[in-house]
């Protein structure tokens, strides 16, 4: 992806929070450091806290300008919680999120509202995220109204935005129920663009859509990213979709980052046993490849985040786990430029989990055998 000229004026300075002032083009636009998100578990008459769910534990990552960072993982891995806590839609327990030069986690309520000009979100369920009682015009225009854009100007912008996402300006008079799932997701995208944001967190933006519609929305996202010079955090469980859309990909397991790398390296030379098993489990729409494939089948289910395993959280399902994995949390270390992995026994480039497992003289469940 191309690097944005730092000197280029912001498209619409009155929406600009100013947090990016003086930031050079190759510095990250969003920096996340040691982010922790715990939810209390309460029980009894007095709702005393009896434990906590560790949804996100010590996540650190950077998002660069005009890049798409994919975040993948299975349900309950904390990817959606991570996305929401970046915008402080839920308050993180600890850690920092820095947008440009400004600490989002320390911002006052008023300042946070200004920062949200620049930080927007698109949700998974286009049925639940649009107010059924408002016409589309008001749904898309609401952010502008809240941020004090004159009514006439806002109305004109709504028409432009609807056109941009592939709808007609006259659709503004209709209500959400009159639209299909794909169209609703377009409306959600139009709303997120209303304030000319710099960063959009997309939480499973195409998961609820039929495959023929998915591609339409993915292509639309691609276009608006170029046009508005946006940075995306793309949260999804579909590994093929993430490979297609992302420049770099982070893999999460039980609240922690397991691996992070540029997309081709991550998919072609995954170093974390979990990444390999995950990729191995994805069915491919190609019968010949499927027949030739050796699929590693992980045992068991993802453990509960209320009581995560000690040490490396993946050790209970990992076919190559050793004693140390039970006691010591692996460091999220860099094994090559831009390639980080949290594993004591990371796989070498080109090495498969199957080979390593066999080397250790262990049995692994393989589909087809």
């Amino acid at each position: 992806m191309t690097v944005v000229d730092p000197g280029a004026p912001a498209a619409d300075s009155k929406f600009d929070s100013g947090a990016l002032a003086g930031l050079s083009a190759d510095e990250p636009i969003l920096q996340v450091r040691d982010l922790v998100m715990e939810f209390p578990i309460r029980a009894g008459v007095f709702r005393r806290q009896v434990g906590s769910v560790q949804a996100v534990t010590g996540v650190s990552l950077d998002l660069y300008r005009h890049e798409t960072l994919g975040v993948v993982g299975e349900s309950g891995c904390g990817k959606s919680t991570l996305g929401r806590s970046l915008l402080r839609l839920i308050e993180p327990t600890s850690g920092t999120v820095t947008f440009g030069t400004e600490d989002v986690t320390a911002a006052s309520k008023k300042r946070l509202r200004e920062l949200r000009n620049d930080l927007q979100m698109v949700f998974q369920d286009p049925y639940a995220s649009l107010n059924p009682r408002l016409p589309i015009r008001d749904i898309v225009g609401e952010p502008m109204q809240i941020h004090g854009v004159p009514r006439k100007e806002a109305r004109q912008r709504v028409g432009e935005l609807l056109k941009r996402v592939g709808l007609l300006p006259e659709h503004g008079n209709r209500y959400p129920h009159e639209f299909s799932g794909g169209q609703r997701q377009r409306i959600g995208i139009a709303r997120s663009l209303a304030l000319r944001p710099k960063v959009i967190v997309l939480d499973e933006p195409v998961s609820a859509l039929d495959v023929s519609i998915q591609a339409q929305v993915l292509n639309l996202l691609d276009e608006i990213q170029d046009e508005y010079q946006l940075s995306f955090i793309f949260i999804a469980h579909d590994l093929s979709v993430v490979r297609h859309t992302s420049d770099r990909v982070a893999v999460m397991y039980l609240g922690r980052l397991a691996e992070l790398s540029d997309r081709h390296r991550l998919y072609d030379e995954p170093a974390h046993p979990y990444t390999q098993s995950l990729l191995s489990a994805v069915p491919v729409a190609d019968p010949r490849r499927e027949r030739a494939r050796k699929r590693i089948i992980l045992q068991g289910d993802v453990p509960s985040p209320a009581n995560p395993p000690s040490g490396c959280r993946f050790h209970t399902r990992c076919p190559i786990a050793q004693d140390v994995c039970k006691h010591e949390t692996p460091e999220f270390r860099e094994i090559a430029a831009g390639h980080r992995v949290a594993c004591h026994f990371a796989l070498e480039p080109g090495e498969t989990l199957l080979e390593r497992t066999q080397q250790l003289g262990r049995k692994v469940d393989i589909a087809g055998d």
Partner: protein, 344 residues
Amino acid sequence: MSDTLAVGATGTSTTQAPLLKVDDLTVGFRTDAGTVKAVTDVSFEIRPGEVLAVVGESGSGKSVTALALMRLHPRNTDITGDVVFDGIDLLELTDAQMRSIRGRDIAMIFQDPMTALNPVFTVGEQIAEAIRIHNDVSKKAAWSRAVDLLQLVGVPEPKRRASQHPHEYSGGMRQRAMIAMAISNDPKLLIADEPTTALDVTVQAQVMEVLHDVQEATGSAMMLITHDLGLVAGSADRVQVMYASRLMETGDLDDIFYESANPYTRALLESIPDLEGVKDTLEPIPGNPPSLLNPPAGCAFRPRCFLAAAECAEQVPGLVTVEGHHASRCLRISEMPAPVEVRS
């Protein structure tokens, strides 16, 4: 999984008599706004031991087809056509006769095991009940068979787990329990409706493996209903593609993926991102699926089709044989561009 499939795809049972033969099945729902045809003139066969995948997007009629076969459709439904299973026309049976077949000869696995299992009975009780409905065995014998079945589908500690309620099971375990219940009477046909859609990908791999193992062990045929072309590629012998209530294309697995003779199938394959990162751009299918209340004249896919011409609006194309049992519903098959080998 794949090794056995390779054999199945080429070898098994192409000459055997069909286990299930469906002719001109049409299912309409009477609504205030008129009759919605959810399935229109669908004909197909399933042979013993084979896996037939039914692919389509939401509203294409794939699930309704299965529910109609099982006669589990709602009251406001008109069904016409023939559904002959093992020599018996299911649509002619009384409700009592149908009940004796359902769950014994044909069993179904639903997408959401949480709603398909009864929350107030233990998993073991529910499986035992399914056995005792069709077999004259003691409660004790049924229970011990239930435990065996749970073991077969890979539920750890089956004795203890049989006395647990569904909410104590994880999603993957519940789906295994449902498979155990479905195979409890050695059905000849398993209908699996999106059996892994609610599951995570690593658990999906486990459940598909279990399905294949039990299918191999019992020799039952399977109708796999799914929207996931990846699952189809990894498990089906034959495929039929549905769109807007009709069959668009049907054929052997490789025919559909590598030699597709239908613009909808082709467009569907082009629109999905691939795990290998070969595709640079996705070719989306423009527009939206049509309303079944008011379908477009002629071919239902015409408004979104890259190959559409004036003739396509004039009549609904018939299902035309391409080669062997590969057939496609398209007037312009001869105009189809040669298949592009984007994969493999």
